[in-house]
Amino acid sequence: MSWTNWFRISGKSLFGIAFSLHRLTGVVLAIYLCMHLTYLTSLKFGKEFYESLIKTTVSPTFLVFDILLILAGVYHGVNGLRLILHEFGLAYESRRTLLYAAFVLTLVLWFVASYQMYRFVMGV
C-alpha cells in the first residue's frame, strides 16, 4: 500500500470525508503535541527561553494558526465522540443526523473558542 493511500478519501459521501478529516486532524494534533512537549522541555533551559518562545507563538501573527488548530482539535474531539458512540453499538441508525449535528457543534464550538482566543491574544 502506498503511503498516499493513507490520506485517500474513500468514497464520495460525507462519511468518507468525515473519516479523512478525522485522520488529517489527528496528524495535525500529533504534530502540535510534539511542539507542545518541545516547548515544555524548553523550560530546562530557563524561564526566559521558554517565555521568548511563548512570546513568538502567542501573538497576533500566529493567531490564524491558533484558530486553525482549535478547529482541528474541536473537530477531532466532537467527531471522536460521535464515533465512540457508534462503536459502543449505539445510534448507528441515526448516524446521518449525528454527523450533521457533529459538524454544526464543531462550528459553534470553534467560533466560541476562536473568539475567546482572539480576545486573549489581542488583549480586548
Binding site: S10, K12, F15, E87, Y92
Partner: protein, 239 residues
Amino acid sequence: MGSEVTFRIKRFDGEKSYWQTFKVPVYRGMTVLEGLYYIKENYDGTLAFRASCRMSVCGSCAIKINGKPRLACETQILSLGSSNIDIEPLDNFKVIKDLITDFEGFFKKHEHVKPYIIRKDDNYENPTEILQTPEQLYAYYDFTLCIKCGACYSVCPAAAREDYLGPAAITAAYRFNADSRDGGSEIRYALVCGDNGVWRCHFAAECSEVCPKQIDPAKAVQKMRVKAALHTIKSIFGW
C-alpha cells in the same frame, strides 16, 4: 443531454493502465452494463468486464461508475445525469484486466468466517425440522441479502490493508451468529476478534453508503464488535 454519452474507461492490459473513451448511443432505461456490451460488440472486443445475471442478484458486475461503486446492471445511464461516464475497476482489489478484479482473497475471507450454520446435533440420517419464529428470522434477515459484490470492501479505508477481513465477511459472520439455528458463535467470535477483524474498523460507514442491497454492513460490524467485546471480557474472566 443528447442521445449519446461518452464512456471513459480505465483499462489495464496486464502491464500498464490507461484511459480510453467511447461514444455510446443511449436510450431510456439503458444500463451501464448494456453500454459496456455495446462497446464490446461495436468498438473493442478486447474490453474485459464481468457480468452474469443482469438483474442485481449475482453481484458480478460491481464497478466504479463516476467514482462510486455500483452494479453496472442496475445503474441506468440517464439516471447518472451526466454525458460523461467514468468507469473504473473496484478499489482495494488487484486488477486482472480492464474492469475485472481478483476476488480470490475476498472470497477466502468470506470462507474464513464460516458462513454456514454450525450445529452440534447434525443428524443427516434422521433430519429434524428446526423451527424459527418470524422475530428470530428478522434478527438477521437483512444481512442474508448480501450478494458479495465487493462494493463495501472497495470503499473501506481499513481494507486498504490486505489482511483486514472487511465489512462483507464480518457481516456474514454476524448474520450466522444472529441466526437462532446456529451454534457456532464462539468459533466465529474467535475468528473476528483478531487484529484483522472487527477492531480494525474505523466506522467510516462508507460500506453502508454504497451497498447496492442497502444491507448496512457498518451496522453489522458495530453489532459484531459489541458482541466480540463482551465475548472477550467473558473469556478473560472465565464466565
